[in-house]
């Protein structure tokens, strides 16, 4: 075995670490570059704000943008309060008994279930059994079930980051458990909860499998009227125009991908800014 001098081995390990990092981010940069390069040309107001035309080979992606927005909004309205309540229960109330342990274990495992499984589950329960049909609400419920474990986990981490001594100080003043949660724990956990929620929004915006059988439509000639309508969504629309339609102009495919990409990245950046802002203004 060759023995390198400390100086040389230092340089060598630096090089390897640097190369590994480069390797990790290169594909991302290349993908972004290709999408921007090929899709940029179709992006204009018209493309964002009009309906598809000519069997989707022309026109815009407005219904897909609106559909994604609506379904994501419904999902987060369903998930955030439920997930937060569950997190509060598990962290602040539940004693360490079998019931709580099973739930915690379940939550950990649910986070690893492939999203297409949620799609089939949602189709069975919401579309068929509850007869909601293929609709925004069925899709949002399916996405909620999928995202709930994530929201619970991020909320629990945020609650845990509030020092125990704050709780104790409050209880010792004769403040009840619930009032302590409301006035001390939640305000201090809020930044973490919000960051988690925004990252969840970014994640569900790009999901295709769970809404494939529960909400997504190939083509709807109008914007959704109610939560019982089917909708077009960006990820599903992208899938369709890139695989199901012959003679599809390439730039429209890449343009649609670019919009989805920008949307998800923008939401993630919001989360990062929220986090940086609160970290700077963090008080303990």
């Amino acid at each position: 075995m060759i023995r390198l001098s400390p100086k040389l081995s230092q340089k060598f390990s630096y090089l390897i670490l640097f190369l590994a990092t480069t390797l990790a981010i290169t594909p991302v940069i290349v993908i972004i570059f290709i999408i921007v390069k090929n899709g940029m040309s179709v992006i204009n107001w018209e493309f964002l704000a009009s309906m598809p035309k000519n069997g989707m080979r022309d026109g815009g992606v407005l219904p897909a943008i609106v559909g994604t927005f609506v379904i994501v909004t419904c999902t987060i309205i369903l998930t955030l309060p439920t997930g937060l309540c569950a997190a509060i229960y598990l962290n602040e109330y539940a004693r360490d008994n079998i019931f709580a342990r099973v739930i915690k274990l379940g939550i950990l495992n649910l986070a690893g279930v492939p999203s297409v499984v949620y799609g089939l589950f949602g189709f069975g329960i919401f579309v068929m059994f509850l007869k909601l049909g293929v609709s925004i609400i069925a899709g949002a419920l399916t996405l909620s079930i999928m995202e709930l474990p994530v929201i619970i986990t991020t909320s629990r981490n945020a609650l845990n980051s509030v020092p125990y001594s704050f709780r104790e100080a409050s209880w010792a003043l004769g403040v009840s458990r619930w009032q302590t949660i409301r006035h001390i724990v939640l305000p201090n956990a809020l930044p973490g909860i919000m960051t988690g929620a925004v990252l969840s929004i970014a994640r569900i915006s790009g999901e295709t499998a769970p809404i494939l059988f529960t909400a997504a439509a190939f083509y709807v000639p109008h914007l959704p009227h109610s939560i019982f309508d089917q909708v077009m969504t960006l990820p599903y629309h992208l899938y369709i125009i890139s695989t199901q339609i012959p003679n599809m102009p390439n730039n429209i495919i890449f343009g649609t991908a670019l919009i989805l990409l920008v949307m998800v990245l923008a939401i993630s950046f919001v989360a990062i800014f929220v986090r940086i802002y609160f970290r700077k203004h963090r008080k303990w």
Binding site: R95, D96, P163, S165, F166, E168, A169, S170, W171, A172, L173, G174, V175, S176, Q179, H183, I184, N188, K283, W284
Partner: protein, 251 residues
């Protein structure tokens, strides 16, 4: 009639027997210190008097603690009201990350003891004056409490307790994170507060116990070894263990 009467009191952390058959009577408007080596159960005993130990999983107790003849371990006791009557100051200053003013007003507001702005302001001022903090900070009441020095933070924590008008104040090593000058000032404050409150302090600093207290309890391995006038404990204890401890032979 004594104010706090602890009778055959035992406390277990799950299976660990932390307090063994404690019997002690604490009188009104006196300062009592609890001394003893680390891990002997001083904090546990103190935290039993406002039942803050209840919040720890696996804690169970037997025996009684009577405050003015009412057993606080009775199942009908409202612990939130108990904790308003028996205030607690912790080892590390733990003000909330809100303004100085809001820290003191917190108990009043959240417990809806008072909703009137003027009464709350008055109480905040009175409480801050009682801990001799008012003159220093009256111009920065709305600054974060965490901008204060550790000593000031500990004073603020005492003011926060005083604001909800307790009868008894428990202090768990309130000076352990402070420097000597600050310690002296806090001790002076504690002595001043004696006229209005019954005070129990845990300390592992024997000079401190000798300086501030009227009565002293000495604990060892979860048992109360001796309880008497402070002077007696430090000059002429009746138990050998006490003598060994106060003369610095162990602990």
């Amino acid at each position: 009639m004594s104010k706090i009467e602890i009778k055959n009191f035992n406390l277990y952390y799950t299976n660990f027997h932390a307090l063994k058959d404690i019997n002690i009577n604490i009188e009104d408007r006196r300062i009592t210190t609890i001394i003893g080596p680390s891990g002997c159960g001083k904090s546990t005993l103190l935290r039993s008097i406002n039942r803050i130990n209840d919040t720890i999983e696996g804690v169970h107790t037997t025996g009684e603690i009577n405050i003015y003849d009412e057993n606080i371990y009775d199942e009908n006791t409202d612990v939130d009201i108990l904790r308003r009557n028996v205030g607690m100051v912790f080892q590390r200053p733990n003000p909330f990350p809100i303004s100085i003013y809001e820290n003191v007003a917190f108990g009043l507001r959240v417990n809806r003891i008072s909703t009137s702005r003027s009464i709350i302001s008055e109480t905040v001022e009175k409480s801050l004056k009682a801990v001799l903090l008012w003159d220093n900070i009256k111009d920065r009441l709305y600054k974060s409490a965490l901008s204060l020095t550790l000593e000031e933070q500990q004073r603020l924590c005492i003011a926060r307790v005083i604001a909800v008008v307790p009868h008894i104040i428990l202090l768990d090593e309130p000076c352990s994170s402070l420097d000597p000058v600050a310690i002296q000032k806090i001790e002076e404050l504690i002595i001043q507060l004696k006229d209005r409150y019954t005070i129990i302090i845990v300390t592992h600093n024997m000079q401190q116990a000798a300086r501030v207290s009227n009565d002293t309890a000495f604990m060892l391995f979860g048992k109360l070894i001796e309880f008497d006038k402070t002077e007696k404990i430090f000059t002429n204890p009746s138990k050998k263990e006490t003598e060994d401890y106060v003369s610095g032979r162990f602990g």
